[in-house]
Every structure is written in structure tokens, then in C-alpha cells.
């Protein structure tokens, strides 16, 4: 039984964790949340270390030092790489849960099989399946996001894929049940469950494309939390259960938000293999798009009274955030009301665009959610689409043959005029033609987002100096 002092410390930690998340409701108090979290963690670790059973100090010190050695560089990655860092840390979380579950199983087994009660076995089986599948699944997701060479970026699909995936998971679960019912007779199944869970994690992520990453990362976040909960059940530790449940519910809510923002269900994301070039896309007749020069666009922007910039993952790829900030400064100085319309699934993880724009010093009041900006879009003079594609495709509203039909979009087409910066006319991740580009008042600015916005800035600053004289 855990001593009372340690229990008290765990209670304080739990309360601090709840406050920590509570303070995340506003950017003004959010940093306080981090301090509360750190304090909770220090209290929890400190009180665990004073427990009498701890003797291997050298091992603990070594692991902690290594943890710092890897953790500090991981916290310094560029913000465009935050999605893969997050996926990587989900995989570490899953690995820790899996290893602790494995260790506990063999420990109890060797100490005496009477330790392996049904409840404990249920918890251990849940912990290792969740833990190891989160480990390999998140590792795959991180690899895809980092664009590691030997991991296919495009979704990989084959016939009977879902059948194989679900089959593998079912076999693992059946083995788990056998193990729970009779741990002594079926002990040999334990390693097989681990292998199946590891394999399932990989196969689950293989068919998933870049546009689905925000949902998948959130879902893996949830799994990582749940594996911590299962660990809490195994170790009879309520702090683990509460902290894990907070993480699990956070991942769940984010996944729900992401799914809603794409008008898709969990099963559809996990088993639907979005992102293959859809049939029918080729049958679209050749339509022409209108292009505009940066000089012309700069003039129109200068005369506008309200501009909404719609960023997408392409902005992050082109590293155009700082150029956008310059554009924002120039236009604001000129009296133009500039806002940013953020689609929930823009980028590769929830809230990705907000962080990138905040890094470029855009005040957060200017970052507006899709639902808040859509009613005003008709009054907007210019919508400037930077590296976003599917999230501004009007086909989602009316074309029920389109794969993205029903997905909520930012109504860039309703603005009085729309500029879309794009490298080429290639369809985006989902392989769908974007009707917006063919709309009457849409003009394309072809080129690299960073270069095009740089040009716009140059034109605008020249014009503005000209008018001041």
C-alpha cells in the first residue's frame, strides 16, 4: 500500500494537473498552466523517490540524465516539425506503458502466479496492447510527417487491408482473453500479443495520408493517455489513472473536433484510406484559370479595406510565415483590416497554424476560427489563400459527388475577390480539383508562397513610399 505522505503528494499533483489544463483556456493564463504541470510532476517524482524500496539509484540517475539529453534537443525543434515531435512523444509514452506492463507481468509471474488476478491481467493486457500499438503507430506517423525516406508518404492500400488489420487486432484480443482466463497455461502467448500489437500499430498508420494526420495524432494522443490509465490500474496508482484520463479525454476531444472539421467518422479516417487520387477527378473538363501579376495584386490589396488571409500547410512548407507577417504589418499600417482565417484541420496537427503564425509575431486576436469568420466573408474585400486547398474548396458545400462533400470550409469564394497562391495547378493532397480556382473572381498567383508574398511586400512598400512623398 502506498504510504499516506505519498498519497497526499499524489492528491496535490492531481489537483495541480487539473488546474494546469484549466489555465489553458486563455493564452494569458496558459503559461501558468505549464508551471502548475511542472510543479505537479516534481512533487510526484519527489514523493516516489522517497519510497523505501528504491535502491538502484545509479540506474535511475542514468535514465534521467539520458532523458534530459534527448528531451532538451527535442524541445528545440522548429515549429513546423512540432507534429512529428508530438507523434514521437506519443510513441515514447506508449513504449513506457508497454514496457512497464511487460515487466510487471513477468515480475508477478515469477513471484507467484497467485499475483496474476483476473483484474490485473485485464489491465496488463489492455496496457500492453494499447502501449505497443501506440508505440509503433506513432513512430510510423512521426516518420511520415518527417518524410523519412523508407516510409511511404502516400497512403499504402491493398486488397483486404481492413480485413487483415481487424483480424490481427482480433487475434491479439483473443490471445489476451485466453491469457486473462488462464495466465499459467497461456503464458507463452504474452510475447505474441506484444508482436501483434506492434504489427497492428504499423499497419494501422500505413494507409493514412497527410491530410488525416491531425485526426490520427489526436487519436494516438488518446491511446497514449489510455495506456497510462491502464498502467495505473496495473500498479494500483490513482495518480496515473487521473493524469492518464486527462490526457485520454484531451485526445478524444481533439479527435472529435478534427473529425467534425472533415465531416468524417473515426472508422472512416482509420479504415477509409483517404488521399488516393479519386476516380472521376480525371473526367473534369479542362477549365482555364485567371492569373494575376504581383503588381496588380499588390494594388488591389492596397485599396482593400478588409483582407482575410487563409493559411494552409503549404504556408508551413514554404516557410512563408515571416513574409506574411511583413505583409500584415504593411497592410495594417495602411489601414487595412487584416485577419487570418484558421480551419481546424489546416496543418498537420490541431492548432498548428496558430502556433506558426504566433511564432511570426502575429497577435493572436487576429487569428479567427472558421466558424467565426464565415458569416463575415461576404463583406471581405480580398481573401488571400496561402497554401490551403481542400479547406477552401466550395465543392464541399454543393457537389455531393465530391469526396470532401459536407466538410465545413472557409468560404473564400464568397469574398469580393480571391487570390490563391499556388505552386502549380496540381491537385492537393486529396487529389481533388478545387473549384475555387476556376471561380469568376478568383485570380491565381503562381509561384512559391514565400517568393510571391515577398514580391507583394516589395510592391506594397514601394507603393506606400510613393504615396507618402
Amino acid at each position: 500500500m502506498i504510504p499516506a505522505v505519498v498519497q497526499t503528494a499524489y492528491i496535490i499533483s492531481t489537483a495541480l494537473f487539473v488546474f494546469s489544463l484549466n489555465w489553458m483556456k486563455d493564452p494569458k493564463t496558459a503559461r501558468r498552466g505549464v508551471f502548475a504541470g511542472v510543479a505537479a510532476m516534481i512533487i510526484a517524482i519527489g514523493s516516489t523517490l522517497v519510497e523505501p524500496g528504491i535502491v538502484n539509484w545509479d540506474w535511475i540517475a542514468l535514465a534521467i540524465v539520458l532523458g534530459f539529453a534527448v528531451g532538451i534537443p527535442l524541445s528545440k525543434v522548429p515549429l513546423t516539425a512540432v507534429p512529428q515531435r508530438t507523434a514521437l512523444s506519443h510513441s515514447f509514452g506508449g513504449l513506457a506503458a508497454g514496457l512497464v506492463g511487460t515487466a510487471k507481468f513477468y515480475l508477478w509471474f515469477n513471484e507467484g502466479p497467485e499475483n496474476l488476478t483476473a483484474f490485473r491481467m485485464i489491465a496488463i493486457v489492455a496496457e500492453i496492447i494499447l502501449g505497443y500499438l501506440t508505440f509503433t503507430g506513432s513512430l510510423m506517423a512521426a516518420g511520415k510527417l518527417q518524410e523519412v525516406k523508407w516510409i511511404p508518404q502516400r497512403p499504402v492500400t491493398y486488397r483486404g487491408q481492413n480485413f487483415i488489420n481487424i483480424g490481427l487486432l482480433s487475434i491479439a484480443v483473443i490471445m489476451g482473453i485466453l491469457l486473462i482466463l488462464n495466465p499459467l497455461q497461456f503464458t507463452y502467448l504474452f510475447p505474441f500479443i506484444i508482436i501483434l500489437a506492434l504489427l497492428f500499430g504499423i499497419l494501422l498508420i500505413i494507409p493514412i495520408g497527410g491530410a488525416d494526420m491531425p485526426t490520427v495524432i489526436s487519436l494516438l494522443n488518446s491511446y497514449a493517455g489510455l495506456s497510462a490509465v491502464a498502467m495505473g490500474f496495473v500498479l494500483d496508482n490513482k495518480l496515473l489513472v487521473t493524469a492518464g484520463a486527462l490526457d485520454g479525454s484531451s485526445g478524444l476531444i481533439l479527435s472529435i473536433i478534427m473529425c467534425k472539421a472533415m465531416n468524417r467518422s473515426f472508422t472512416n479516417v482509420l479504415f477509409g484510406a483517404f488521399g488516393q487520387v479519386q476516380k472521376g477527378a480525371q473526367t473534369v473538363e479542362q477549365r482555364t484559370v485567371k492569373t494575376e501579376t504581383t503588381e496588380g495584386a499588390a494594388q488591389i490589396l492596397e485599396q482593400a479595406s478588409s483582407v482575410v488571409i487563409i493559411p494552409g500547410y503549404g504556408m508551413a512548407v514554404a516557410q512563408a510565415q515571416y513574409r506574411i507577417r511583413e505583409l500584415y504589418d504593411l497592410l495594417s499600417k495602411n489601414g487595412v483590416d487584416v485577419k487570418f482565417a484558421i480551419h481546424p484541420v489546416a496543418g498537420r496537427m490541431p492548432g498548428h497554424m496558430n502556433v506558426l503564425l504566433a511564432e511570426a509575431n502575429i497577435p493572436y486576436e487576429k487569428l479567427v476560427e472558421m466558424d467565426d469568420i464565415n458569416p463575415d466573408m461576404a463583406q471581405v474585400d480580398v481573401a488571400l489563400v496561402v497554401g490551403a486547398n481542400d479547406v477552401v474548396n466550395p465543392a464541399a458545400r454543393h457537389d455531393n459527388s465530391s469526396p470532401i462533400y459536407g466538410m465545413p470550409i472557409i468560404n473564400a469564394d464568397k469574398a469580393k475577390m480571391c487570390f490563391a497562391i499556388k505552386r502549380t495547378m496540381n491537385p492537393g493532397f486529396a487529389g481533388i480539383e478545387n473549384e475555387l480556382y476556376f471561380a469568376e473572381h478568383t485570380f491565381m498567383l503562381f509561384g512559391d508562397a514565400k517568393a510571391v508574398i515577398g514580391e507583394l511586400v516589395k510592391q506594397l512598400s514601394a507603393d506606400l513610399i510613393g504615396t507618402e512623398k
Binding site: 510532476m41 540506474w59 493517455g225 489513472v241 490526457d247 479525454s249
Partner: protein
């Protein structure tokens, strides 16, 4: 805020073992009170997380990441206790993984949150690196 306080009270009460160790047999684990804690903590989590600003979803994820690395507690006991060496090994790897998450999770969350500025602070200050080029 009142609701939050009430929820906290519930969770605090549930954390206190109602039936203190009657016996140290393996069966003594009170799973139902654990499930209770899990259920209530999930509800608190859902309540708190829905109110998190959408601006902060990326930092939220890295923060919850660090928080769920509380698994460090389990890894510490496994690594530190006098168990066979293979258990120590497994524990040490788990401890390393959790520590990495704690350190990088909290640091990167704070780093991102520092970037969120209100207009008064953001305007004029903090010229980007790119400006100098």
C-alpha cells in the same frame, strides 16, 4: 469555477483510500474505486478540455503529453526496486522514455506559449530573423 472546484473535491475525496490497507494480499486492489476515479477524471478532463482555447490546441497536446508521462512514477519504482536485472532494464528504458516526454513536453509547451502575444506587445517588437536578411 464553482463547478471545477466541486469536481476537484470529488476527485480529491476519491483519491483517499476509503478502506485503508486491510491486508496486503494481491487481491486487495480496489478496482471499483479505481474505475470510479477513472470515470470521474475522464469527465473532468472532458469538461476542462472543451474550454481550452482553440488557439492553443498544439500547446495543449504537448502539455497533456508531458502530463501523461506521469508514467514516470511506475518506471521509477520498477527501475529503482531490487528486482531481477531484466526488470531493471525494462524499467530504465521506460524511465528514459517518460523523462524525455516530461522534459521536452513542458519545455516546448512553454516555448510555444511565449509566442502568443496580444497586440500591444506584438506590434513593433520582436522583429523576425528574416527581417535582417
Amino acid at each position: 469555477m464553482f463547478n471545477l472546484a466541486k469536481m476537484l473535491l470529488i476527485i480529491l475525496l476519491l483519491n483517499i483510500p476509503v478502506f485503508p490497507a486491510e491486508s496486503s494480499t494481491p487481491q486487495s486492489t480496489d478496482f471499483f474505486s479505481m474505475i470510479f476515479v477513472f470515470m470521474l477524471a475522464t469527465f473532468i478532463g472532458l469538461g476542462v478540455i472543451t474550454r481550452v482555447s482553440r488557439l492553443l490546441h498544439t500547446p495543449l497536446m504537448s502539455l497533456t503529453n508531458a502530463i501523461s508521462a506521469i508514467a514516470v512514477v511506475g518506471s521509477l519504482i520498477l527501475t529503482g526496486s531490487d528486482y531481477p536485472s531484466y526488470i531493471t532494464w525494462l524499467g530504465a528504458i521506460a524511465l528514459f522514455a517518460s523523462m524525455t516526454n516530461i522534459v521536452s513536453g513542458f519545455l516546448i509547451t512553454d516555448r510555444m506559449l511565449k509566442m502568443f502575444k496580444s497586440p500591444s506587445k506584438a506590434s513593433g517588437t520582436g522583429k523576425s530573423k528574416e527581417d535582417k536578411k
